[in-house]
């Protein structure tokens, strides 16, 4: 399951965009979005998902349970 950004919580701070090892994050209007096709949950890159670790607002970068898990 890839991560997604809860748009109503996002402050547009851009911090996650630069840290994503897959360039899966981009700006879209008043929020940032994660491309589920590119997100690997940081598996194989880092111990912690980077967008979750840097986000200044809790529960903003969350697992998107509507999608299947990422398979390496």
């Amino acid at each position: 399951m890839p991560f997604k950004i809860v748009a109503s919580q996002c402050t547009n701070c851009t911090a996650c965009e630069a840290l994503c090892p897959n360039q899966a994050i981009s700006e879209a209007g008043n929020t940032f979005v994660i491309d589920p096709a590119l997100c690997t949950e940081c598996i194989g890159h880092f111990d912690d998902p980077q967008c979750v670790a840097i986000c200044p607002v809790d529960d903003t970068c969350v697992i998107d349970r509507s999608l299947p898990r990422y398979a390496p």
């Binding site: 402050t11 701070c13 880092f46 111990d47 980077q50 200044p56």
Partner: protein, 523 residues
């Protein structure tokens, strides 16, 4: 070491070009930014020192910098460009979802600029406000968590407006990685926010830091942060870059500890220490706001600043301004320079015109210093009497604001030593909406309740009567005259009345640091 004119620092460099850090620290500490005054007191360029009180090369660096020289802040303006939205730590006094109340990082509420937009904005402001001499990057996140945007902005501005001084304000976590880049762009002033040097205390201020691709929490997070901050400060000092330390005073958490912080940063060559009151209210949505953590009173803040001043320069004129502020400290003209407006502006950078204007400001400044010096005789009658007075001013060191229009009051301490700037108090506009007039006046009285008098250019009959009743003398006899000179003339008159028995000198009470005023633009 790049572009440093510090002879002392060159002395500390051996034939191989290697800098002896201990030697540099010692020399910087001896400087304390400003040298010492002849009576054995400590340096005071954070308050009012002039060229006679400090090494010439440091005076050159600070004389036009409103944040590094109290004297300059009456005359010169600064602007911040909000090009750095990302942050790499979390502070309990900051809520990025709305705003950072303490360092006025505007988070989501103001515009984010690209480096190109920022450069255009600087040109537009510099053309409109010739006394704008300093460009700072202070957020809304941390400039060094956005290094590409921060340094590209500095590069563009140094190309189009080379006379503008560049500075940045950081939490210090990434600072050691970027000191050489900072030196390369000739950024000669850096502010580091250091709230603790003990991780036991730090863990109550910082819930987490992002370090080496992990979110660290608690003691571990604060330990990394303090190590990086102090290392960064030492590296700045080695390179002759002036460092100011900001500390947020949080009663019950780091208030007593800030004396230790003061010693730690002084020994590492910090030029100026700025202890700011915690701004904390539930509506900020910060951890401290929500858990009821209070900020200090005016008296608590001043007592701590006075205690640390024995050791080094204390800054008392900080306005905790926003990351997109424009203008003199205490004013904010950012509304005149929104992205839409600046992109539509035709601007021509008039370097010569700016220089001429700044020369006129210098002449005005010197006249003010001379006027103050002329009133220093005869103050010995003060004995142990010390008192605070409030002043309504729009800048230039002159009493030139109407009581009802003042957004803040500057506070001066009068004593046998003269008139000394010791702070400012923000107040909501008394004349403008939102509050009933009576409530507005009460707010002002609470904010300057520790003052014996308030100096204004003009004041109406009703507030005059209410102030007098509250024990604060309204003084409008010195409209459009120099602040310090006028305050000293009034003080000597007061002392004469005390001597003749016409007046009995009594101490005043404490005052409140207003929590709401900074929110004016944040909504």
């Amino acid at each position: 070491m790049t572009e440093t004119s510090f002879d002392d620092l060159n002395d500390a460099q051996d034939a191989d070009g290697v800098v002896d850090i201990a030697d540099v620290m010692q020399k910087m500490a001896e400087h304390k930014g400003c040298g010492t005054s002849s009576d054995g007191g400590k340096a005071s360029c954070g308050s009012s020192a002039g060229p006679a009180d400090m090494p010439a090369e440091i005076w050159e660096k600070v004389k036009n910098h409103p944040c590094y020289s109290e004297e300059a802040h009456h005359h010169y303006a600064r602007m911040h460009v909000a090009v750095a939205p990302a942050c790499n730590i979390q502070c309990n006094y900051c809520n990025r979802k709305y705003d950072c109340a303490n360092e006025s990082r505007p988070g989501v509420v103001s515009e984010r600029l690209t480096p190109e937009q920022a450069s255009k904005k600087v040109l537009a402001v510099a053309s409109t406000i010739p006394q704008m001499t300093v460009l700072g990057i202070a957020g809304p996140g941390d400039p060094l968590a956005n290094p590409a945007k921060t340094f590209e902005t500095f590069r563009l501005i140094s190309e189009v407006a080379p006379d503008i001084k560049l500075c940045l304000s950081t939490n210090g976590l990434a600072l050691p990685d970027w000191v050489d880049e900072i030196a390369k762009y000739k950024v000669d002033h850096v502010t580091i926010t250091i709230n603790m040097v003990d991780p036991e205390i730090g863990q109550h201020i910082y819930p987490w830091v992002f370090w080496e691709n992990k979110r660290l929490q608690g003691y571990e997070a604060a330990k990394i942060l303090t190590e990086r901050q102090l290392l960064g400060l030492e590296m700045l000092t080695e390179r002759g870059i002036l460092a100011k330390i900001n500390s947020v005073m949080i009663p019950g958490i780091n208030d007593k500890h800030l004396v230790e912080v003061n010693k730690a940063v002084k020994s590492r060559g910090a030029f100026l220490h700025n202890i700011m009151p915690l701004i904390s209210a539930p509506e900020h949505g910060t951890v401290f706001g929500l858990n009821g953590q209070r900020g200090p009173t005016a008296q608590e803040l001043k007592a701590l600043q006075d205690e640390c001043e024995g050791d080094m320069n204390m800054m008392r004129h900080c306005r905790q301004c926003r990351a997109d502020a424009v203008g003199l400290l205490g004013e904010d003209r950012s509304e005149e320079f929104t992205t839409d407006k600046i992109m539509a502006m035709e601007v021509e950078y008039d370097a010569e015109g700016r220089k001429a204007y700044q020369q006129a400001v210098e002449a005005e400044r010197q006249a003010k210093v001379a006027a103050k010096a002329s009133e220093l005789d005869g103050l010995e009658a003060a004995g142990d009497i010390k008192m605070l007075v409030a002043v309504a001013t729009k800048g230039h060191g002159v009493i030139n604001e109407h009581f009802g229009h003042a957004k803040e009051f500057q506070i001066y301490e009068l004593s046998s030593g003269g008139a000394k700037f010791v702070g400012h108090r923000r107040v909501d506009l008394y004349c403008q909406g939102g509050y009933g007039e009576d409530e507005g006046l009460e707010t002002i009285i609470r904010a300057i309740n520790d003052c014996h008098a308030v100096f204004v250019a003009k004041i109406g009959g009703c507030p005059k009567a209410d102030l007098t009743k509250a024990g604060i003398e309204p003084v409008d006899a010195y409209a459009h005259e120099y602040i310090e000179q006028s305050a000293l003339v009034w003080f000597k008159d007061y002392l004469a009345k005390v001597a003749s028995g016409e007046l009995v000198h009594e101490a005043r009470g404490d005052a409140a640091i207003r929590q709401g005023a900074l929110l004016q633009k944040a909504g």
